[in-house]
């Protein structure tokens, strides 16, 4: 009989306490896999955020700093307005390379609107933030009266969306980013003008509430790119002397996200390593215990001609089979917890969250299996060596007592 057949038969038919080792391996593999997937998803979300942030500085109405961060990070619907005359002043500042205005408008949770979401209006003449990655995704520019929808926006039946009683065609849908951009709709200022007029009829005030050319006079924020070599901090300081506006620096926003994700990542790593240590210790104790309770078995095997190495390999193989099976089941269970609930997790964490691709999932799975099997194999070697070294004659004498 081959050694692997002996090991399998012992595990399937023998009552050798294998289930405890299996359960601990399952627990470890679940923790490692789920932890690594969460960590990877947060890191990828942050990379997407960094790539698509575009501007160095955002100038928003005084008191709207948190609202702006909410739009970027989680797509929370916000609307605010400020005088557009500031644009020329910003353009004239030393160190400022580009300035583009944007308008934020929140749609309503009512029958006039398909979904309550954030509508972002951008000026195609000056834009340097939104257009590059829209055309990167689709190689096209928005036509008049068309919308570009984020990945998480549900469209009406015939690829349209209705806002404030007017229906718009959705020209394209953006790739998923895991940031607030997925929950937003993008329109040019021409379309935004129509929307603001319709919104006014529904009681939403923007700017001074006048009709024609409102986007020429009022906007929600200015996005600024600074010249290379210029200090964004200094420019931000100069802008914030204006008592009507607040300044949000992308660098600071990114660093607050990085810090938050860093804390979560560190916590996940600590939990993983604590689990590795606990499971390895418990498996070692269980393995030694099992070896001691099977002393007669070793004696019989030794008398039948089994060498020390054969017994060591048998115990090692038993542990590898148990921890390997536990690792695979742990990954399956962790997948059931992590992947279907990814949107819920993303909402709960409130950080950019973008799930890993197939290759990364395979790498994480292999890593989890390796860690789990090692945590079973190392105690297996220790226990196997102990079993192999026990003397056959003493064991048989032991049995007579």
């Amino acid at each position: 009989m081959k050694i692997r057949e002996v090991a399998f038969k012992k595990l399937i038919y023998g009552s050798i306490g294998a289930s405890a080792v299996f359960l601990f391996a399952l627990l470890l593999s679940f923790t490692v896999f789920a932890g690594r997937i969460l960590d990877t998803s947060l890191t990828r979300g942050m990379e997407n955020l960094r790539e698509r942030l575009g501007a160095d500085i955002a100038v928003v109405p005084r008191g709207s700093e948190n609202s702006y961060q909410g739009i970027i990070l989680s797509g929370e619907p916000v609307e605010c307005s400020m005088d557009r005359r500031l644009e020329d002043e910003l353009r004239a500042m030393d160190g400022v390379e580009e300035v583009t205005p944007v308008i934020y408008l929140a749609s309503l949770n009512a029958s006039c609107c398909s979904v309550p979401i954030q509508i972002i209006g951008y000026d195609p003449e000056t834009d340097f933030v939104t257009s590059p990655w829209i055309s990167e995704d689709y190689s096209l520019r928005l036509g008049n009266g068309d919308l570009i929808a984020g990945a998480n926006i549900a469209l009406d039946g015939n690829n349209t969306l209705t806002f404030f009683g007017r229906t718009y065609d959705v020209r394209a849908r953006l790739n998923r980013t895991g940031t607030g951009m997925d929950k937003s709709v993008y329109v040019t200022f021409d379309v935004m003008e129509l929307m603001l007029a319709d919104a006014r009829e529904k009681g939403i005030e923007f700017g001074d509430g006048s009709d024609e050319g409102i986007t020429d006079r009022y906007v929600s924020a200015f996005l600024i790119r600074v010249k290379e070599g210029s200090d964004a901090e200094v420019i931000a300081g100069r802008i914030s002397r204006n008592s009507l506006v607040s300044v949000v620096q992308s660098k600071n926003m990114l660093s607050s996200v990085t810090d938050g994700i860093g804390v979560i990542s560190k916590m996940l790593t600590v939990i993983t390593w604590i689990m590795v240590i606990i499971v390895t210790l418990v498996t070692a104790i269980l393995s030694v215990f099992r070896v001691n309770t099977r002393r007669k078995e070793w004696a019989v095997l030794r008398m039948m001609g089994a060498s020390e190495g054969w017994i060591l390999r048998l115990i090692l193989l038993e542990n590898i089979i148990m921890s390997g099976a536990g690792a695979i089941l742990g990954i399956i269970l962790a997948s059931l917890a992590v992947f279907p609930f990814s949107k819920m997790i993303a909402d709960a964490i409130a950080f950019p969250y973008y799930g890993p691709g197939a290759v990364q999932i395979i790498i994480v799975s292999l890593f989890s299996i390796l860690i789990t099997v090692l945590s079973g194999a190392i105690p297996g070697i220790v226990a196997g060596a102990k079993a192999g070294k026990t003397d056959c004659y003493v064991l048989m004498r032991d049995g007579e007592n």
Partner: protein, 136 residues
């Protein structure tokens, strides 16, 4: 004993599928208008209760041939639990709705677990049947 524990698990999963969409992982509120997820939750009540009854029947019935048939039925019910929010009725369109982010994945997980446990149960009962035949 092992088989009875597994059968009890399938009964609990059926019960979860029945009451979960109204309590633990609720669908969207139907205060303003009834959406797809509302009807999906209603359908899950019916399927979940049947799954719970089938699970209890597997515990109570002794004849292995009937138990293995019921296990197969339970696996099919697990599949239906998954198909109601994904294909047969569906849930709300927007990925931002609670029924999409919570109820649907919860029902998929419950259905998948129900199928897995039912298949393991069927295999164990099949093993018992083959042992019975050998000992005769």
């Amino acid at each position: 004993m092992k088989n009875k524990i597994l059968a009890a698990i399938t009964a609990v999963l059926g019960l979860l599928a029945a009451i979960g969409p109204r309590t633990l992982f609720p669908v969207c509120s139907a205060a303003e208008m009834k959406m797809k997820c509302y009807y999906a939750a209603n359908a899950e009540v019916a399927v979940g209760i049947i799954a719970a009854i089938v699970g209890i029947a597997i515990i109570l019935i002794d004849k292995n041939k009937i138990r293995i048939t019921l296990s197969a039925v339970q696996a099919i019910l697990g599949l239906v639990i998954i198909l109601i929010p994904t294909a047969i009725i569906g849930v709300c369109g927007s990925p931002m709705m609670h029924c999409v982010s919570t109820t649907k994945p919860a029902l998929i997980v419950i259905g998948a677990l129900d199928i897995t446990v039912s298949v393991i149960l069927a295999l164990l009962i099949a093993r018992d049947i083959s042992i019975e035949k050998k000992t005769r």
